[in-house]
């Protein structure tokens, strides 16, 4: 616990900003959900035949896992893509159900004689709604807002996967680095925030429910909430710079290091402000963000770009692959810059003990023992054309059962803990050293080259030629040993990534 406090102290500005973003995300989306949900609820309450379809659709929306929802929205123009906007759209969709439901319940719960009295005294439908129905349904509606806001605080942690920021960034970063301290640094404030939101809105709800309307006090509570939100979110807004270069990264340690490396290189050489959208949830999200302009630059691997982005057949020659990918990027308005200097190919990893006792050196050595072994892979490796199916065919691998699928960063731990016996990791992973794992040689050259290279929007480089030269200067500077050392410092020694990268660039 004291480690967590220490982390907060040393990341004060960042923690405040992330908390601010989190509050802002929840506040904006909850507010929008009220603006959409209450009228929708009123509409549904007026037309009982439409009520169950509306609630049904809202119900279905709520059962979609949030990560899947972000996936659905990725290719949608205007509301989709990457960043806070798409996150807010998803959070609004989640907030709708409770608000619509409680609005309907609140309106249906009104005594028929009260409504009849209003009509009979000559109220127009609008007067009836604003003077009688909404005031009486208000406590119920506020209860729905409370549920929506609390759900929102939770769902917003997942928004970090698409670069919307918020406390989820620590949770994802912690997961990537297998560092409980960082996970807790995000999870604890998120939980406290949920409790605080729940408590404040509960007070507001109670104030409204007691017949003796102290509307003054209810207003004060709402005012206090608004003030707190404004205060916290201003911290988030202050961090936003409009002309900033947006640097993205995927959601594993090496990518966080490379994202930070690119960011600091730009900051040092150009003095331009940099907005870090690190921890984006995977290759396709990064690529999409680069296309739409949500991100200006991130580091991609040539083999990944070839197969996962441009859907080309797997190729083995490094310079051919680089040229092909560079041309494909150029055709779509992006520029591939010179490779950083290391090849992060997939590494088939086993425990060092097993390698020693069974004399395993190459992947081919694995074939005879595979039948008794369990494999564990990340989601991406199972699907990619240069992933598991081709590997199994090339080396004739047949494991005891279908591979266990888990988060990439968890596979290292699972291997070290003996839950699986072979995994596909990154050749530059610091954990290989930290967890005493051994990489088997790809003696049949199955894996294509994965040279890391920054890819940037051509428009950004035209506007800021100094960014291009800063990125070109990084070419060839990072060896595989450098990369593994930086990953080790982050993953195993739990050093601060900014510090690691800063030290590296000052070397």
């Amino acid at each position: 616990m004291s480690r967590v406090f220490h982390f907060w102290l040393s990341h004060r500005a960042e923690t405040t900003a992330l908390l601010g973003q989190h509050v802002l995300l929840v506040a904006i989306s909850t507010l929008a959900a009220v603006v959409v949900g209450v009228p929708l609820g009123i509409f549904a309450a007026r037309r009982p035949r439409l009520a169950s379809p509306i609630v049904g659709v809202a119900n279905i929306v709520q059962t979609i896992p949030s990560l899947a929802m972000f996936g659905f929205l990725l290719p949608v123009p205007l509301i989709g893509g990457v960043g806070a906007r798409a996150a807010i759209v998803v959070l609004i969709l989640y907030g709708l159900l409770p608000i619509v439901r409680t609005t309907i319940a609140g309106l249906n719960g009104i005594d028929a004689s009260v409504r009849e009295a209003g009509l009979a005294m000559g109220m127009t439908p609008r007067e009836l709604l604003t003077l009688v129905e909404l005031p009486l349904a208000l406590p119920s509606i506020v209860a729905g807002v409370r549920v929506a806001a609390v759900v929102g605080v939770g769902a917003a942690t997942i928004a970090a996967a698409i670069g919307a920021g918020g406390l989820g960034e620590y949770i994802y970063r912690g997961l990537s680095m297998v560092d409980t301290t960082v996970i807790l640094a995000g999870a604890i404030p998120a939980a406290l925030l949920a409790l605080a939101v729940d408590g404040l809105l509960l007070v507001a709800e109670r104030q409204l429910t007691t017949r003796r309307r102290r509307s003054g006090r209810a207003v004060a509570v709402v005012g206090a909430v608004v003030a707190i939100v404004a205060l916290i979110s201003s911290a988030a807004l202050a961090r936003r710079a409009s002309d900033a270069i947006v640097v993205g990264s995927k959601n594993f340690t090496e990518q966080l290091v490379l994202g930070e490396l690119v960011a600091q290189a730009i900051e040092r050489d150009t003095g331009l402000p940099v907005d870090r959208r690190l921890n984006l949830g995977g290759t396709l999200i990064c690529d999409r963000a680069l296309l739409t302009g949500d991100v200006d630059v991130y580091v991609e691997y040539t083999g990944t770009a070839l197969t996962a982005v441009f859907h080309q057949p797997v190729a083995r020659d490094a310079s051919t692959v680089f040229a092909s990918v560079r041309d494909d990027y150029a055709r779509t308005g992006r520029t591939l810059l010179p490779p950083l200097g290391f090849n992060n190919t997939f590494a088939i990893l086993v425990r060092a003990d097993d390698a020693r006792s069974l004399g395993l050196k190459t992947i081919a050595d694995l074939a005879p023992v595979a039948a008794q072994w369990r494999a564990g892979f990340g989601y991406e490796f199972l699907e990619r054309p240069d992933g598991f199916p081709g590997l199994a065919a090339t080396y004739g691998l047949r494991f005891s059962g279908p591979p266990r699928v888990m988060d990439l960063t968890l596979t290292y731990r699972a291997l070290a803990a003996g839950q699986v016996d072979v995994i596909a990791g990154d050749a530059t992973a610091g954990l290989i050293k930290g967890l005493n794992l051994v990489q088997l040689e790809d003696n049949r050259h199955y894996f294509p080259p994965y040279d890391a290279a920054p890819v940037a929007r051509a428009a950004t480089l035209l506007r800021h030629p100094e960014v291009r030269s800063a990125l070109e200067k990084l070419g060839g500077r990072v060896s595989a040993a450098d990369m593994r050392a930086m990953n080790y410092a982050a993953d195993v020694e739990h050093k601060d990534i900014r510090q690691i990268v800063g030290d590296f660039l000052s070397r």
Partner: protein, 264 residues
Amino acid sequence: MPSAAIEFVDVTFSRPGLRVLDHFNLLVEPGNVLALVGRSGAGKSTLLKLVNRLLVPDAGTVRVDGRDTREWDPIVLRRRIGYVLQDVGLFPHMDVAANVMIVPRLAGWDSERARGRAGELLDLVGLRAGEFAARWPDELSGGQRQRVGVARALAVDPPILLMDEPFGALDPVTRVELHAEFRRIQDRLRKTVIIVTHDMGEAFALGDLVGVLDEGRLIACDRPEVLVQSKDPRVKRLLDSVTTLTRARGSTTRARESTLEREV
């Protein structure tokens, strides 16, 4: 001959599977109190809702001040008609003064004038404004709530008042008290009133005319002293129930009901 304030001409109204009113005719003259008696489900509330156009007839015509309700702007029509319900329908989120002031406010009165009017009306219905204006509906007894309901219905001085079982939920003593109160107010204000009730005694206590509703038709409608001599067995059955009740009654309505007792 003065034109009728409220007139039903050959009105038919059905709910799914049930004919509530069947070629129904009725005429109420301005300033008269018509008390309509019928068993529950006899269509009494429906009849009132046809007057303020909460419902419109399937066939036939309802006229208010000589004009078909279908031709009235419903909002304008309803502001001319005060409405008192059995379960009162006070707005639970407004205090007593705000409940009484709601119609004046809808009519665009400034709040000072509306507040003054609310005070007057609370005094009129026997609730001291200083004591009751700031109370909440759930702090009132049933009788007090009903008085507020009447005050609210009278707020913009509508020429017509509709009362749906206004005193039905009250204990007998309070009910008799409110009957007297109602006559006192009516003697001053001279509204055109339709009261519906399932209680013949109440009808006799309040009505200038008493009508008997049975199976969607008006089977009798006359002054109380004429009605008691009816030979119609359905009317007689209702009358029998009154005589047993009136013996236990308080004194305030005795004057009006004495005729009835003597003649039965």
